[in-house]
């Protein structure tokens, strides 16, 4: 199969309250950044004519919110499709736009302002059916707590191991200029932080975040016009689990395992532990880091807890960006993961650059308790 190149990425620094900009303002910064890096233009002859945006109408509190983005996406008189999911799917879709022969370059940009609405839990409560799930008060936080409990029982994951995940995330976040929560914390602080939604503590949860992120993708033939240091997108897969929590085995990683299997197959990866040396997972809550790593195949079933103690995250260069725990908005959680992976593969990750990285996996999730997962494989 032909390859798709990432020619550049741009990240807006995440913050818990970017009050001074509309979401358009964040996206404009990202657009300018990509243009400056690559000379990208949108001319009819040879320019970018296809744009994929990623955002969510409920978080934007605006119907068809990509209507407000046309200008800052460069999409005036051009093609633009809005991925109304977490944005990693936008990268997967953009791959198809290029591999199909439809276009040879795609600009992908996602954003989310979690600070705009009164409560992100009120937004995610609206994803449940109005008759039962909503009335029960389900949202992505309290549903995650059910999964956290189920996974802790399955894997023996302890409070201390969860605290380790958070402490390490903050350490790496401090080196990442785009991360939100960079304040250093100690194990005890995490372990005794107030309970948010048992067993999830406040410091186990990612902070409310605003941000935007952009990518320039191109065909193998076109990529050299923008960069001499491309990163290749070689595998993509995603998967949907059941809706009703009672229909699911919450600790099983059903959807993630399938999404990963498809992405690895497309990329020709047979042994992920041998081939992959950098992983970015969308760990909105601390328990998710070991659980998603297990689903991605970096440790055996039910071994996520032990994996933390065995320094698994260090071995596979997991979340050197600080991960979601350091604060990215939920609709772009996977896009920030992929952006970090691209920088690492390009050797542009600065203070948090890992050595000898040539194959990375970025993962994201949408829906309650990982109902839906996406996996992207990136290579040097």
């Amino acid at each position: 199969m032909k390859r798709v190149a990432v020619c550049a990425v741009a990240q807006h620094k995440c913050d818990s309250n970017i009050w001074q900009k509309r979401f358009q303002g964040m996206l404009l910064d990202v657009l300018e950044d990509i243009k400056e890096q690559t000379g990208m233009n949108f001319s009819e002859e040879g320019g970018v004519k296809s744009i994929v945006s990623a955002s969510d109408d409920v978080f934007d509190a605006r119907t068809i919110s990509d209507n407000g983005m046309t200008d800052v996406l460069g999409a005036h008189y051009r093609e633009e499709e809005k991925m109304a999911q977490e944005g990693l799917n936008g990268l997967g879709y953009a791959m198809s736009v290029i591999l199909s022969g439809h276009e040879d370059a795609v600009y992908v940009a996602g954003h989310c302002k979690e600070s705009q609405g009164e409560s992100r839990n009120m937004c995610t409560n609206l994803s449940y059916d109005p008759f039962y799930g909503r009335a029960m008060g389900l949202d992505y936080t309290n549903v995650a707590a059910l999964q956290a409990r189920a996974y802790m029982e399955k894997s023996g994951l302890t409070e201390e191991q969860l605290a380790k995940v958070v402490v390490r995330a903050r350490e790496w976040a401090a080196k990442n200029p785009y991360a939100n929560a960079t304040k250093q914390v100690e194990l005890g602080e995490v372990m005794y932080s107030p309970m948010l939604c048992d067993p999830i503590r406040t410091m186990h949860a990612y902070p409310v975040s605003d941000g935007a992120v952009g990518f320039l993708l191109a065909s193998e033939e076109k990529a050299h016009e923008f960069t001499d240091n491309p990163v290749w997108l070689t595998g993509f897969g995603c998967c949907m689990d059941s809706y009703f929590l009672g229909d699911r085995d919450l600790a099983s990683n059903f959807a993630l395992k399938r999404a990963a299997a498809r992405a690895y197959k497309m990329a020709g990866i047979t042994d992920v532990r041998k081939s992959v040396n950098l992983v970015e997972v969308m760990d909105c809550f601390a328990y998710q880091q070991p659980m998603w790593l297990e689903g991605l195949g970096f440790c055996g079933d039910g071994e996520g807890g032990q994996f933390i103690d065995d320094e698994g995250p260090a071995k596979y260069n997991v979340n050197l960006s600080g991960g979601m725990l350091a604060g990215n908005p939920v609709m772009t959680g996977g896009l920030y993961r992929a952006a970090e992976a691209v920088l690492q593969l390009m050797g542009k990750a600065g203070d948090h650059q890992a050595a000898d990285v040539n194959c990375a996996v970025a993962q994201s999730t949408t829906g309650g308790a990982g109902q839906f997962h996406t996996v992207l494989v990136l290579e040097k």
Binding site: H76, Y77, N89, S127, G133
Partner: protein, 397 residues
């Protein structure tokens, strides 16, 4: 244009009936009904589907990430699934996406689902929320405007323009009356033309109630497969030849002293140029157009089809857009008959594909349909055009 990596065929189509309300089923059940029809039509099972593409507007039904709940009926369980929404154009976006996903080689069989249950929300309010919250939201009136009516009356004279718009409306209703799935079937007759022209209640200026599209509930599903799979699985796949999407800037600022080229015209111009089509009226055998009102529909025929002056009015007046005319327009009845927004722009290529297959039902065009055009509309006057073909025999330009 760049050469398509591989050809993509439509192998299954399923639609619910469209109606003003469907209290007998919830959203996931409505999706499931259309999915089952499409699988039956393609004579395959969910096992054959590699990926599902889903789309509807969150703020119309007030459900965040509705694909999660709809997974109960969409068949996405255990499968790859993408969700794309672009307003009115959503259904067309889903078709373009499915085409790209299959052509890319990433998936062999993709099922696209467009839906809306407009009864469950406030549609005009939902559309008003499309505008910037700080300024334009206070001015907007949903999708209602008479600017096109005013401009057409200025250009062609009040009487001729009003007659043409109403003739177009009655023609659409005549087509809708043939379509068993259409939502609104009034049974309008041409002898009512003058009466309706003068007495149908005014919404905005000369945009009257009868001119405007409905608000409907319903879902549409299309299944796409690679050439190899399509030929193996289906006797008469319909081929997606090409598609183009053209958006424009955020605001409705285009009513100044000089007017920019409409996206409709731009889309047609670029698409026909890169496919070597010089006379679209001659080339295409059917046009399923997203016509949110009779005025817009009539005006956009000129834009899409690259017509000059009053050519579109003449074609209408001469009956050339009728079922037995030169270029039948909207045998399905179009959007003034049925408008489940997230599905509406998918109905266009779906109905066009059924015309090519020859099994469109009572609204089937009598002469053979080989080349079809379908359009989508949304946002601030955005356009999508999709070309469908009966045979894989077109010449690359």
């Amino acid at each position: 244009m760049a050469k398509k990596n591989r050809n993509v065929g439509v192998i299954g189509i399923g639609q619910t009936e469209y109606s003003s309300h469907k209290e007998h089923q919830n959203q996931a059940e409505m999706v499931n009904e259309a999915v089952r029809y499409a699988l039956e039509d393609a004579n395959i099972t969910l096992d054959d589907i590699d990926c599902v593409v889903h789309g509807n507007m969150e703020l119309f039904e007030m459900v965040h990430q509705p694909d999660m709940w709809h997974a109960l009926g969409s068949g996405a369980y255990g499968k790859d699934q993408l969700r794309i929404t672009t307003g009115g154009t959503t259904g067309a976006s889903l078709v373009c996406a499915a085409d790209n996903l299959v052509a890319s080689g990433m998936y062999d069989v993709v099922m696209a689902i467009g839906l809306e249950k407009l009864q469950e929300g406030h549609t005009t309010g939902g559309i008003t929320n499309m505008a910037d919250p700080l300024w334009f939201r206070h001015l907007q009136t949903g999708a209602l405007t008479a600017t096109t009516a005013t401009m057409m009356m200025e250009e062609f004279g009040e009487d001729r323009a009003k007659r043409a718009a109403m003739k177009y409306r009655i023609l659409m209703d005549k087509h809708a009356c043939l379509n068993p799935r259409a939502h609104r079937r009034f049974g309008l007759e041409y002898d009512q033309l003058e009466d309706l022209m003068n007495t149908s209640p005014k919404l905005v200026g000369e945009l009257r109630l009868i001119h405007m599209c409905s608000q409907s509930d319903g879902a549409c599903v299309m299944i796409f497969a690679s050439e190899e799979k399509a030929k193996a699985m289906c006797k008469n796949p319909v081929w997606i030849r090409d598609h183009i999407t053209v958006h424009r800037e955020e605001t409705f600022n285009n009513f100044g002293l000089e007017m920019p080229e409409m996206t409709h015209h731009y889309a047609g111009r670029k698409l026909f140029e890169r496919n070597g089509i010089t006379d679209p009226v001659e080339y295409f055998d059917v046009f399923e157009m997203y016509d949110p009102s009779a005025w817009w529909g009539l005006d956009w025929l000129r834009e899409f089809l690259q017509l000059k002056d009053d050519e579109h009015l003449k074609l209408l007046e001469d009956g050339e857009f009728d079922l037995d005319g030169k270029l039948p327009v909207n045998p399905s009845g179009g959007v003034t008959a049925s408008n489940p927004i997230g599905a509406t722009a998918m109905l266009r290529p779906a109905e066009a594909a059924m015309q090519i297959r020859g099994d469109a039902g009572p609204q089937q065009i009598k002469k053979e349909v080989k080349h079809a055009l379908a359009s989508g509309f949304g946002g601030t006057l955005w356009s999508v055009l999709i070309m469908l073909e009966k045979d894989l025999d077109w010449q690359e330009v």
